[in-house]
């Protein structure tokens, strides 16, 4: 039984956690890809930026001596999401919009986003240094231990993990409501479908672009914050998180928010299950097996974890470039 508990803790919970993070990031990337038509390389650093905004607000709240039933960082995350959304719109204004208006090819925008990511990276590390930080300023994070019938070890889940799962769930529902029920949400889908026709129809593309950056920026901030709450805030997230998020986006089909969510969880679970040591699950029945169970039976050594999203990406590009949800191949 302990083995099953271990599997749930190390395999299922971790997959759910990292999958949620990827999903939150990939929703933004897929919307930007679908509507503005370029791969936004600055998304990883936007997550870090959002997490830092949260950290600053949390520190401010903590210094005021405020105590709340929820972690301060989680509360501070909501204003931080608004701030990050505004910053995202600002970045678009200064760096992407002029290029769009000059009729630059999409790949030039991709490059500009690489420039932006370097600027963000530089600025963040310039002011905050490169060490990791703890988002729990006021109190250590709470850890829930849930006894599991028949096992001596409990299921372990931490408070930020619960918050992350709940937040992702709520965010997905709100997003679904927004995209299918609201006028602006439908307009976003319309622009993503056919920008030219959307213009002909009289849809205000500026509003749609703003909505895209607001959603993308806010969710990036949330993903960055919740990830840092789960582990620590590391300023060097950037390219390491970008690859799985892009993989999730493409697996899910570009311009498909639901695909991005599914893709996020797919990549997240593949990653954790690929590095999970399956030998542990086999150990209790090892006397009944015809082969000897090796000490380590992970599909991929942990140091090659990055291979997993990359392989998923490559396989999808080869065999189904539209992704599982039939997105566009731009």
């Amino acid at each position: 039984m302990n083995e099953i508990v271990f599997f749930i803790n190390k395999g299922i919970t971790s997959g759910l956690i990292i999958g949620s993070i990827y999903a939150l990031g990939a929703i933004g990337v897929t919307l930007i890809f679908g509507i503005l038509r370029f791969a936004h390389f600055a998304h990883g650093d936007m997550m870090t930026l959002g997490a830092f905004v949260t950290l600053i607000l949390t520190a401010a709240l903590a210094s005021l001596g405020i105590v709340l039933p929820l972690p301060l960082a989680f509360i501070a995350m909501f204003p931080a999401m608004a701030i990050t959304a505004c910053l995202a719109i600002g970045l678009d204004r200064v760096f992407y919009k002029p290029l769009r208006q000059a009729g630059a090819r999409p790949v030039v925008l991709v490059m500009a986003s690489v420039g932006v990511t370097l600027m963000l990276q530089g600025l963040i590390r310039l002011f905050a240094g490169v060490r990791s930080r703890d988002m729990f300023i006021e109190a250590p994070k709470e850890i829930f231990r849930i006894p599991f019938p028949g096992a001596s070890r409990p299921l372990i889940i931490t408070e930020p993990q619960v918050l992350l799962i709940v937040f992702t769930f709520v965010a997905v529902i709100v997003l679904h409501w927004f995209l299918t029920r609201s006028r602006l949400g439908k307009a976003m889908r319309a622009v993503s479908d056919n920008p030219e026709l959307a213009r002909i129809t009289g849809i205000n593309t500026n509003h749609v672009v703003w909505a895209t950056w607001i959603i993308g920026g806010a969710l990036a901030c949330a993903a960055g914050t919740l990830l840092s709450m789960d582990v620590t805030l590391k300023p060097d997230l950037s390219f390491n998180i970008l690859l799985p998020i892009f993989a999730a986006t493409i697996v899910g089909g570009i311009g498909q928010p639901y695909g991005a969510i599914a893709g996020g969880f797919l990549v997240g679970f593949s990653e954790t299950l690929a590095v999970f040591n399956w030998a542990i699950l086999l150990r209790p029945i090892k006397d009944h097996l015809w082969f000897e169970v090796p000490a380590n039976l992970a599909l991929v050594p942990t140091q090659y974890k990055l291979m997993v999203p990359f392989l998923i990406l490559i396989i999808v590009l080869i065999y189904r470039p539209t992704g599982i949800f039939k997105g566009r191949v731009l």
């Binding site: 999409p106 991709v110 530089g122 493409i250 990406l313």
Partner: protein, 425 residues
């Protein structure tokens, strides 16, 4: 047309004269030994930048994985030219490696056969199944063998060592290896929009670096390998200036040959076709499959140059250290060189490489000096305690500046300082 030509020739003359003066100034102020090093490295960067400028400028391909190709080239060149490790050759290692290669080829054939199976009347579902099975079996077989092999080799001899072949062979193989990797990446992504290539090259670069850092049996991993051989006398057995100057000569010759060849290709029908594809993909698409074929050619060629230039760069440093491959220095710096110099213009790439590299190198002490100044004065005037890692933060300033340069150039001078000169059709 001729007026325009004269104008751009003037521009070339002015810019390169300015650059020559800058170099002369560096030599006078920083001393010959130091400046020679800088020039050699700038020359290597120029070769790498030529590789990137043909990808981006000729064909509009966005490669964010320059670092990966440099690393792959450097590692291969190191393996080819580093002296042999007798312990390895006397152990069971060579046999294991040989069997591994055989297995690798067998798996490749199996996978290829599975994906081509419709030729033998296999349905799409069965094909998918075959592919999955082929991948799974190859993975299990190869990774198991790899585990065993790496353990065995690490125990018996530490690592496999080099082949002890001439350095020039190493450099050429570096280009070939980078080209082969590029071929696979390009084959997968070039039919799709350029964003996919960007994402895939970003991924492959991270993975190559990861692999090299962890493959102790192959490249000693983070233990580093040194001293790498030079094709000319090394400073160890001669004079510094003499050694570096001869190395610089070799680099300069390589660079000039590559430049001349590229220049020829640019004006040949091949180059014209490339530009046609870049400028009007839809019109060129009527040529059908050819577009992807041409793109693949240029992508591979560009990466060959990156591998080659990267190998020369690392050999000069004389130490192979996989942790030394950094996106900033080996990808984005090259990007700045290319777009600032003028994408699609080979002279622009060379100018950009030398100029940007000089600025880059000089900016390091400058940033440190500036930051220590801020630190001391900040402390003196406001009592602010500067963070202890001020030096590392100063370097972050350069990351910011690189990013800022990219965005500014794209917006305000998308042509670079030496714009591409092409006959308008």
């Amino acid at each position: 047309m001729s007026e325009q030509n004269q104008y751009s020739i003037m521009r070339d003359v002015v810019l390169f004269t300015g650059l020559a003066m800058l170099v002369a100034f560096i030599f006078l102020s920083q001393g010959t030994v130091y400046s020679l090093r800088m020039m050699v490295e700038a020359g290597c960067y120029a070769i790498i930048a030529l590789g990137l400028t043909i990808q981006w400028g000729y064909a509009g391909l966005f490669n964010v994985g320059v670092m990966g190709f440099i690393a792959a080239g450097a590692a291969s060149s190191m393996l080819i030219s580093f002296p042999q490790n007798p312990e390895f050759w006397n152990s069971a290692g060579p046999a294991l490696v040989g069997i591994f290669i055989v297995k690798l080829i067998a798996c490749g054939v199996a996978l290829w056969a599975a994906s081509k199976s419709p030729r033998w009347g296999v349905g799409p579902i069965l094909r998918a199944l075959l592919i999955v099975v082929a991948i799974a079996i190859s993975y299990v077989v190869l990774s198991e063998h790899m585990d065993e092999m790496s353990k065995e080799i690490e125990q018996a001899s530490g690592w496999i060592g080099g082949l002890g072949l001439p350095v020039i062979v190493g450099w050429l193989v570096a280009g070939v290896v980078a080209g082969v990797i590029a071929w696979f990446v390009g084959k997968i992504c070039l039919g799709l929009r350029s964003d996919y290539l960007a994402i895939a090259t970003l991924g492959i670069a991270q993975i190559i670096k990861h692999f090299l850092k962890n493959a102790d049996w192959l490249t000693r991993g983070t233990l580093t390998v040194s001293p790498l051989p030079w094709p000319v006398q090394t400073p160890a057995d001669g004079e510094f200036i003499m050694a570096r100057a001869s190395y610089l000569t070799v680099v300069a010759i390589a660079m000039v040959i590559i430049y001349l060849l590229l220049q020829r290709a640019y004006h040949a029908p091949w180059g014209r076709m490339m530009r046609a594809i870049r400028d009007n993909e839809t019109a060129a698409a009527s040529m059908g499959k050819d577009v992807n074929r041409r793109r693949l050619e240029i992508f591979v060629l560009g990466c060959v140059l990156m591998g080659f230039g990267g190998a020369i760069l690392i050999h000069f440093a004389s130490i192979y250290d996989p942790s030394g491959f950094i996106d900033l220095n080996h990808t984005f710096l090259v990007w700045v060189m290319v777009i600032l110099g003028g994408s699609g213009n080979n002279r622009g790439a060379i100018f950009g490489a030398v100029f940007v590299y000089i600025v880059w190198v000089m900016s390091e002490p400058l940033a440190l000096w500036l930051f220590s100044l801020i630190g001391t004065y900040g402390q003196a005037w406001t009592g602010w305690e500067p963070p202890s890692d001020l030096a590392s933060r100063a370097l972050q300033m350069r990351v910011f500046v690189i990013g800022l340069t990219i965005t500014l150039v794209l917006r305000f001078a998308p042509q670079g300082v030496l714009p591409e000169q092409q006959a308008r059709h």
